[in-house]
Symmetry: C2
Subunit: 188 residues, 2 copies
Amino acid sequence: MTDRSVTNPYTHEAMPDAAHTREALLDAGAALAEEHGLAGISVNMVVARAGVAKGTFYVHFKDRAAFIDAMHARFHARVEAAMEEAVVDLAPGAERLFRAAETYLDISLQNRGVKALSLEAGSDPTIAARRERLAAGTISDLQVLGWDDAEAAAQLLAAMIREISALEFDRGHPLPASRRSLKRFLDT
Amino acid sequence: MTDRSVTNPYTHEAMPDAAHTREALLDAGAALAEEHGLAGISVNMVVARAGVAKGTFYVHFKDRAAFIDAMHARFHARVEAAMEEAVVDLAPGAERLFRAAETYLDISLQNRGVKALSLEAGSDPTIAARRERLAAGTISDLQVLGWDDAEAAAQLLAAMIREISALEFDRGHPLPASRRSLKRFLDT
DNA sequence: TGTACATCAGTGAACGCGCGTTCACTGATGTAC
DNA sequence: TGTACATCAGTGAACGCGCGTTCACTGATGTAC
């Protein structure tokens, strides 16, 4: 350890170097997920990109699987926090639904590796559970809008939002036509 | 080669053993894709499951990537053929759209490895092109239904259909609530 | 203030393993004479 | 009909490589006295 007094850019509190290295590894993983997909990432690639020794990886993560999970957890935590904040004082309904969707899309655009992180669920139950939790947040909105199969509708809605997110990330900017189409699908 | 006179179950024409082994490899790959995802398949696993020697794999496929592509091509050819047949004498419109969607879902349910094959696009341009071609078939229907951003809507529609397909495959049978929700999204 | 010790993030060589790919070979079949 | 040769799907040992993981070690910092 050569530099122990790193400052958290958000809280401006002191941040131990340990957290700094951990974040660097997760950032490297996210960048690599963008290029190679989640399954295409190797520990070798991650430590090379982060500029640390191979052993350091195992100081911070139990194994490769725990690292993938940590990447996914971080991404979902960011998305969920932003969505909650955007929607906190709104009652269930169309307005709340659109705001949540747009927040998801805007946050996703700023995160490397989103496509891999949101699309490559694989058969990992933890990842599937986080995805489901996010989708579940829209069920009450859809019920208010008169859907009787609100749960099924919420899953389809989530699939559309992920699709737009992937398209926007490829292009590097929001796609108004896609967002408009999403709105239209919800005008029932 | 020990048995050269295999009969194609569809055409009842003679089928050289070569095609038989190739199909066996693709079948093994599809089964493995179901368990491990496309990226999780190894040549070792495929030949072990198909019961042939490792070298045989390279008699039929240039390399691992060509094999993955061949699996995807076979799946899409099946889906496309079935959809075209189901829809051949229908004019663009709601009826044609639903029939195409239901055909996609029904065929997918019968094919091993669908989830991997339809969801794991990765960054492969050939796979992305086949996916896009399938989605493009619904654009004219959406135009007739009054969508002005029919292309964007077609992509979202395709995402919903893939989502339902994945859900149905997990459960092993059609999910009427999901199919109904899809229909509702299209009633604009 | 100086010394001895504990803590802990970080290091990198070493490991065994399964990977994708190659290639000289086999043996059954089809063809030419 | 018999013989010589060509073809080609199938074989499996062998290859070099990058993988994930381990572990004895380093050295800077914090703590006790």
